[in-house]
């Protein structure tokens, strides 16, 4: 059946296709050039992590590594040994905080967004207006009142202080609402007629349809939380509660530090690996194409 659809579209568009081939080639070349340019610093970062010291401080500077070495990673783990806490503790903290934040954010924002977009209960319009307005307030100043509230709840220097404030992300609600709103009401009605509870409708109808949205939200929240420097800086006190970005600053050791330059490059590389891995995993959910690629092109 799919093949039939494909041949059908092929005959419809067949006339134009041959002419387009040249344009398509140019298009691919341009896109590849742009992709290469965009990825350049990332490639450079990977190369830096594996450069031996003499290549890191070479003049003229060299983009690609010539004699790759693992010494920087070794230095990183050794230098972490001289710190108060083993490097693995930072990794654990970062993973725990990031994974819980992502899960709770996606669930709480999706639930609320579904209620706002599809139920239109009294007050939900107001809530949305408030949420969007809060989005536009510079977050730096609100950190002080927020700190006072978190402090009076007795949560400073706990994992909750790092996870909880991120949950009510206006950004997350806004994103989910924008994707859930256009979903056809008829489908939800049909599920209701079939006797499905709201809870089931949410998990078995709304969430599967909004998959590109929550996959996107997962990626965005993961990256923001994983790379967040400001929140742990404010809400943690003890060394055992710190996350990777804070540890990274310690490893960099401020401007002019030469000794750990290689180690810092290795740390940068290690910090980037999980986000890229997650992106590659989730990417399929953002860009699911198989279903109708035959019809579309």
């Amino acid at each position: 059946m799919i093949r039939a659809a494909m041949t059908a579209t092929a005959t419809v568009k067949g006339a134009g296709r041959r002419r387009l081939d040249w344009g398509r080639a140019v298009f691919y070349v341009l896109l590849t050039a742009l992709a290469a340019f965009m990825a350049l610093p990332l490639i450079f970062m990977v190369n830096q992590a594996f450069k031996p010291a003499e290549e890191l401080f070479l003049f003229p500077p060299r983009f690609f590594v010539r004699n790759p070495t693992l010494k920087n990673f070794h230095d990183l783990l050794m230098s972490a040994d001289t710190m108060l806490v083993p490097f693995s503790r930072y990794v654990f903290n970062s993973l725990l905080v990031t994974v819980s934040t992502v899960l709770l954010t996606v669930i709480s924002a999706s639930l609320a967004a579904y209620a706002v977009a599809k139920h239109r209960a009294p007050g939900s319009g107001w809530l949305f207006t408030l949420v969007v307005s809060a989005l536009m307030f510079a977050p730096h100043v609100t950190q002080i009142p927020r700190y006072m509230i978190v402090n009076s709840l007795g949560l400073v220097d706990t994992y909750w202080a790092l996870i909880l404030p991120a949950l009510a992300s206006p950004y997350a609600l806004f994103l989910m609402k924008q994707f859930i709103e256009p979903l056809p009401d008829a489908l939800l009605e049909a599920a209701k007629v079939d006797g499905a509870s709201e809870w089931r409708i949410f998990w078995q109808v709304v969430m599967p349809m909004a998959r590109p949205a929550w996959a996107t939200l997962t990626i965005l929240t993961f990256i923001t939380t994983w790379n967040d420097f400001f929140t742990p800086l404010i809400f943690t006190q003890s060394e055992v509660m710190k996350t990777l970005p804070l540890a990274l600053i310690t490893i960099y050791g401020g401007p002019g530090q030469v000794a750990r330059y290689g180690a810092s490059q290795a740390a940068t590389f290690l910090m980037t690996v999980p986000t890229i891995a997650l992106f590659i995993l989730m990417q399929r959910r953002v860009i699911q194409t198989m279903a109708y690629s035959g019809i579309k092109s």
């Binding site: 134009g16 742009l34 992709a35 965009m38 990825a39 610093p41 990332l42 450079f44 003049f59 500077p61 609320a112 209620a115 706002v116 139920h119 209960a121 939900s124 319009g125 949305f128 207006t129 408030l130 969007v132 809060a134 536009m136 307030f137 510079a138 730096h140 100043v141 609100t142 002080i144 009142p145 509230i149 909880l164 404030p165 949950l167 009510a168 609600l173 806004f174 924008q178 994707f179 256009p182 709201e198 590109p212 949205a213 996959a215 990256i223 790379n227 420097f229 970005p245 600053i249 960099y252 940068t268 980037t272 986000t275 890229i276 992106f279 953002v286 860009i287 194409t289 579309k296 092109s297």
Partner: protein, 320 residues
């Protein structure tokens, strides 16, 4: 609802109408109790940890508050000082506007164009997506180390090195210290970094477009890709456009991380000074929280006004 209004117009007993209204509201609340249950976790945290801090910060903007002593009410003087006496703030406003007017529209349009182009691809779609999205994945602290190397003002800087080798430059140029190139450099790096978020939202939005719409459009006489884009894709993607544009507005007015990472705080001749760096300076270096809060409120008004524009452009006429 119409019937209730009708009852109100008769108005025989004036206290009946409000009571009816109240009963109606109660019935509605009860009917939607599942919805409230769904909203509860988000709303609880939102009110406690987002909305309350915003309100407290707004109150603080009318006070003198140094974190040690309790805030003292001083009325409008923070705002007066900010708008009339603080020249550096005005430099920050100018720089922020420069940044916002280039960064906002360019990143918005570039993200959409790229997402649209990549969505047309049949092969290697995942590869191109990763390549385009890669810059947003990396921590801005981590990546600024690399950009600082690219833009370094001595002959070791990669850009200086290349330009000198080709012969465009005679001697190293101080990209991040010369007032003429500081903000443009920040714009370029920012653009490179944050094509990502909106790009991803647009990609997801393009996936949400019902393919049957394209078939219907083809029957209705839509001939080429550009017509498809104009008559089908763009109207259907309004919710994503609204999200991305509000997002772009907020991001472009609150430029901070990159500006500080590249140009320093304070930057040379305040060439890289923005509203949020000014805010950060007063909040976390001088500990004048009241003044910093006033800066945040002005920034909010600026962002909100621009955000309304985005709503007017892309709103689907929903709840907002």
């Amino acid at each position: 609802m119409g019937q209730v209004r009708g009852g109100l117009a008769v108005g025989a007993r004036p206290w009946v109408a409000p009571l009816q209204e109240l009963a109606r509201l109660r019935a509605q609340v009860r009917r939607h109790r599942v919805a409230y249950f769904f909203m509860a976790p988000f709303v609880a945290v939102f009110f406690l940890l987002t909305l309350a801090p915003v309100l407290v910060a707004t109150y603080l903007s009318f006070t003198y508050f140094n974190l040690l002593q309790p805030p003292t009410w001083i009325g409008w003087s923070n705002y007066r000082a900010l708008l009339l006496d603080d020249d550096i703030f005005l430099i920050g406003v100018r720089n922020t506007l420069f940044f916002a007017f280039i960064y906002g529209p360019v990143s918005f349009m570039a993200s959409f164009t790229l997402a649209w182009l990549i969505n047309q691809l049949r092969r290697l779609r995942a590869f191109y997506t990763l390549a385009m999205y890669a810059p947003s994945i990396v921590s801005s602290i981590a990546i600024s180390v690399i950009w600082l190397y690219f833009l370094a003002g001595d002959r070791y800087g990669l850009i200086n090195y290349l330009l000198m080798r080709v012969g465009i430059l005679e001697e190293p140029f101080l990209w991040l210290r010369d007032p003429r190139t500081t903000m443009p450099s920040i714009v370029v790096v920012a653009l490179w970094m944050s094509l990502g978020n909106q790009f991803l939202v647009f990609l997801a939005g393009l996936q949400n477009v019902d393919p049957q719409l394209y078939e219907a459009a083809a029957i209705d006489g839509v001939r080429n890709r550009l017509q498809e884009l104009w008559y089908v894709t763009i109207p259907v993607m309004k919710p994503q456009f609204l999200f991305a544009s509000v997002n772009a507005v907020v991001a472009s007015f609150s430029v901070f991380d990159i500006a500080v990472a590249l140009a320093g705080l304070p930057s040379h001749l305040y060439a890289g000074h923005t509203i949020v760096t000014h805010l950060y300076d007063y909040a976390f270096i001088r500990f004048e929280m009241g003044y910093a809060a006033a800066i945040a409120v002005i920034l909010f008004l600026l962002t909100f006004a621009t955000g309304r524009l985005a709503f007017r452009l892309f709103s689907t006429g929903g709840a907002y």
